[in-house]
Each structure stands twice: as C-alpha cells, then as structure tokens.
C-alpha cells in the first residue's frame, strides 16, 4: 500500500494526541492555569490536527460530515463518532483545569478510556481489511494502542507509563513484524489461485491490461522503496521505543528530557507507520504479477 503522507501524519499525530489527552483526563498530571492551557492545547492540537490531516486525501472533503452515518458497519464511521465524543467528554475537564473551576473529573476518566477506544477504531480501519493480509490480524490494534500509551506518557512526562509503553511497543512491533512477514504467504494466494488458472497450469503475466499505472497500482502496489525496509525497522524499534524509554529512566526527569524523548519517539513512530503502509501488500497486486 502506498504510504500517503496525510495518512501517516493522521495516524501518528492523532494517536499521540489522544494518548496525551488520556493521561490528562485520567489526572496523571493536573496542570493549572496557563500550563494546563498549553498541555491540554497540545493534546487537542495533535488529535484534531491529525484528524484534519486525514481529510486531505479525500476526493470530496466537503461531504465529510456524512461519515457519521454508517457507524453500524463501518469502522471509519465509528472512528468519526469516537473521536468527536472523546474530545467533547474531555472538554469540561480541560476548561476546569485551565480556569481553575474545580469541576468533577468523572468525564475526564471516561474520556481517558474513550481516548484508547478512539485509537482502537482507527486501528480497526486497517485490521479489518482481509485483502491486505499483513494488516488483517490482532497485532495492528495492539501496536496502535502501544504507540498511544508511549507517546501520551512521554508528552505527559510520566516515567513508569512511558517505560511500560516502550516495552509494550517493542513487543507489539516485533509481533506485527514477524506475523506480518509471513501473512501473505500464509493466506496462500498466488496469481494462479487468484485467477483460478492454476487448474490449467502455472500462470505468469503475459501482458498488462494497461500500458501505464492506474489508480489501483498507484494506491495498492508500492514496490519503489521497499529496499529501505531493512534499515528502517531498527530505526523504528530504536527511535520509537528503546531510546525514549531509556532516556526517561536514565536521564534527569527534566522537561527537556521528555521533550527530546517525545520528538525521537515521533520520528520512530513515523518510520514505523511508513513501514506499516509500504510493506503491506494488497492481493490485487497478484493480478498484475506484482506485490
């Protein structure tokens, strides 16, 4: 699958934003006044910024509101609802923290849980697609939620959650990589099987149906930069999980430590998300003799 920058930005930023909002909502940090404004503001900016980045790749974004209608079957529609409900649930707590109103934090706790629910719906948009075997398994939601936990903990300046998140992330990335690497082969689809021509003999592409790439090939067959895969995986593991977790445990617990760790984590998250798309192979590629 082609790693579109808008979708990488959307999933990485909104995941981290909802992570921070979860820690703020649950009261792990309870900033007051303008510190609260900037802390909550950062969470909202990342979450909303990420969500709006996702609308950049729409063909007709002016109709985006219609995406709220099909929550009964569509994970994308459920995500739209989950994100709006979560942001609304947390709003009174954010206001209360900023203006010192002392309102009850109950909606904050519910909102914190909803933050993880929202990222779960995001992950299911990908995990539900049977036509992309690498995505079609439980490691995708686990990985997305681990990213949320780690990113949120780093931005909220939480040492132990960041360490637990980092360890969870290493395991989740490892599970996603190892399970994903064999997923396509395990599905057992080949050109011969996809066309049914294996009952005649061994099939190869004789001639493509069109002379230059079409939408399908541009969107779902991405072979250009897979050569960087071997180099990017260590970066993903190191920058997203190992380095930030190590930094917050070993270095002094200073704002700068957490800020640097968060930036490094963000780089690793982007690398990992790029791999998430670039390595995912869609079965339609079989018809073109490419994956």
């Amino acid at each position: 699958m082609t790693p579109a920058p808008s979708v990488i930005l959307f999933t990485v930023l909104s995941g981290m934003g909802f992570g921070l909002l979860a820690f703020l909502g649950a009261g792990f940090v309870q900033p007051v006044g303008w510190v609260a404004f900037f802390h909550w503001g950062l969470g909202y900016a990342l979450a909303v910024g990420g969500l709006s980045a996702a609308t950049f790749h729409l063909g007709n974004p002016q109709r985006a509101l219609r995406a709220f209608t099909q929550w009964q079957t569509s994970w994308l529609s459920r995500e739209a609802w989950a994100s709006v409900v979560t942001l609304l649930l947390l709003a009174p707590v954010a206001l209360s923290d900023w203006l010192g109103l002392g309102w009850p934090r109950v909606t904050g706790l519910i909102g914190a849980v909803a933050c993880f629910g929202t990222v779960f719906t995001t992950s299911m948009i990908y995990a539900q697609i049977a036509a992309v075997p690498r995505w079609n398994n439980w490691t995708v939601p686990v990985m997305f939620l681990s990213f949320e936990l780690t990113g949120g903990a780093l931005l909220a300046g939480q040492v132990w959650p960041a360490l637990i998140g980092g360890i969870a992330l290493i395991l989740a990335l490892y599970a996603h990589k190892t399970k994903g690497d064999v997923a396509f082969a395990k599905r057992g689809q080949t050109l011969g099987k996809a066309t049914g021509l294996d009952q005649v003999g061994s099939a190869t592409v004789f001639e493509q149906p069109h002379t230059s790439p079409n939408y399908l090939m541009r969107e779902m067959i991405y072979v250009v930069a897979r050569k960087h895969v071997a180099r990017l995986w260590p970066i993903a593991f190191g920058a997203a999980a190992i380095l930030p977790a190590g930094m917050v445990v070993l270095l002094p617990h200073h704002l700068l430590t957490f800020a640097m760790a968060a930036v490094i984590h963000l780089t690793g998250a982007a690398a990992s998300r790029w791999l998430f798309f670039a390595q995912a192979e869609h079965v339609v590629g079989l018809y073109y003799g490419q994956r």
Binding site: A130, P209, N214, V283, Y287
Partner: protein
C-alpha cells in the same frame, strides 16, 4: 445503508468464459463508452496523449501465459471487473452509506452524491474492482449497466450490459444466478464455473468458466510420411553410392 441485505430477490451478474475470450478489449472500450455519458460522473482520463496516460475504467482485461504440465503454453485473457459479491466488503466499510447493494437485484452501486472519496472501499475490495476517479474525486465501479438493463427506451436485445452486448466472441453472459434455469446458471453448472478467491468469503456473484481442455499436440512432424520415401531405380542406386561415399 451499508448494511448488506440478507437476501436479494435476483442475483444479477456475469459469466465470463475464459475459453473464448480473445482479449480484443472491446468490452473495455464499450464499457468506457457507455458509462462515460450517462450514469454518474464521467470516467476521466489524465494525460491521455502524454507519456503516461491514465484513466478510470470499470473493466480491465489481463493477459496471462499458462504453462500446463503437458503440452504447449496457452495465452488466457482474463477480464476483471466488479463481481457484485453477496458479502461485499466494499459496502460495509463505507462510512457515508454511498456504497450499497440493491435488495431487488443484488447490484452493488455507489451513490456518488454521498461519496467523500476516501478510497477505503477500493482497499477493501480484493479484486481491484473500484477506481477513484481522479477528476471527480468519487469512487467508480461497474454498475452492471443498470441504466441499460431496465431501459425500456432501448430495443430489447440491447438491454444487457455494454460489455456483454459488444463481445464479438460471446465470452460474456449476463443473467440471474438466483434462477437455476437461467442461461448463466446452466452455463456455470455445465462448465464448472468458479469464484475468484473464494477463501476471502466475499461470495462473488460473477463466475468464470475455465478454459476447455486442449488436445494433445502431435509430437511427430507432419512431413514424416514424405521423409520416409525410399528411392528406387537409378535414384536408389545413387542414394546407396553417395551414402557409402559420405
């Protein structure tokens, strides 16, 4: 609604005969021709006369070389379009309700006025049946020529999908799979029509007929009887002498 109907009254779809398809691409052209002028947004082209022409098509014809265990390799042409699946994954993923499957005849359609062009349905389709039009920003797919098959302004023989109507070798057939006595149902039963990627559990309506078994080609040369002529008389003597000299 993106909830799939539990039952459709008819199951309209296509049978594609891989034995007779010659890969002429007439169905591709007829499809684009018809669907470019009536139903929904037009099928745009990008850079049509440039170095990398690209455009939206609802039907693509692949060409494969298949090497059987015995005998010569065969070229098999393989048209690929929407299969109008019973359990269409493209429909349920749609966030806006633009994608739907009709209860009356099972045709999978897109309401372009509700489509936001997110492309998720194209990802969900294992068969590459959906293409996002780059000019209109809405998803395009085979409509089974819904604006032809019920169109009483057309002569009766034209009330079938454009691809079927135009096929010069009768490699494409249109009909109702819910009726066991229909032409398409009988063809599937007689010729062993099959589903594409059945393990993905999409339950496609369209079926493909496998190429018929080919005769085993003769190994011996057709000229063999001629080469075996024994020369007689003077020619025979010459043959013997020259054979000895050689």
């Amino acid at each position: 609604m993106t909830q799939l109907p539990t039952h459709t009254d008819k199951k309209l779809g296509l049978v594609i005969d891989l034995d007779t398809c010659v890969g002429c691409q007439a169905c591709v052209t007829a499809c684009k021709g018809w669907n470019d002028q009536g139903y929904g947004a037009e099928l745009s082209d990008q850079n049509p006369y440039g170095a990398e022409p690209s455009g939206t098509f609802l039907n693509r014809v692949h060409s494969y070389q298949v090497q059987p265990d015995i005998g010569a390799a065969q070229i098999i042409n393989f048209p690929r379009s929407c299969l109008h699946c019973e359990d269409a994954p493209c429909v349920t993923v749609c966030p806006t309700g633009a994608s739907y499957k009709r209860t009356e005849d099972g045709i999978v359609l897109v309401n372009e006025d509700a489509c936001i062009g997110c492309g998720l349905c194209a990802w969900a389709c294992p068969y590459g049946a959906r293409e996002l039009d780059q000019a209109a920003g809405v998803m395009k797919k085979c409509t089974l020529c819904v604006d032809r098959i019920y169109n009483e302004n057309l002569p009766e023989e034209d009330r079938e999908p454009a691809c079927v109507r135009t096929c010069p070798t009768n490699a494409r057939h249109f009909g109702d799979f819910a009726d066991p006595d229909s032409k398409v149902s009988k063809l599937v039963a007689e010729r062993g029509g099959y589903d594409l990627m059945p393990d993905l559990k999409t339950k496609p309506t369209n079926k493909y007929l496998p190429p018929r078994k080919k005769d085993i080609p003769q190994e011996a040369s057709l000229l063999a009887p001629l080469l075996d002529i024994q020369a007689t008389g003077f020619a025979g003597w010459l043959d013997k002498v020259l054979g000895k000299l050689g």
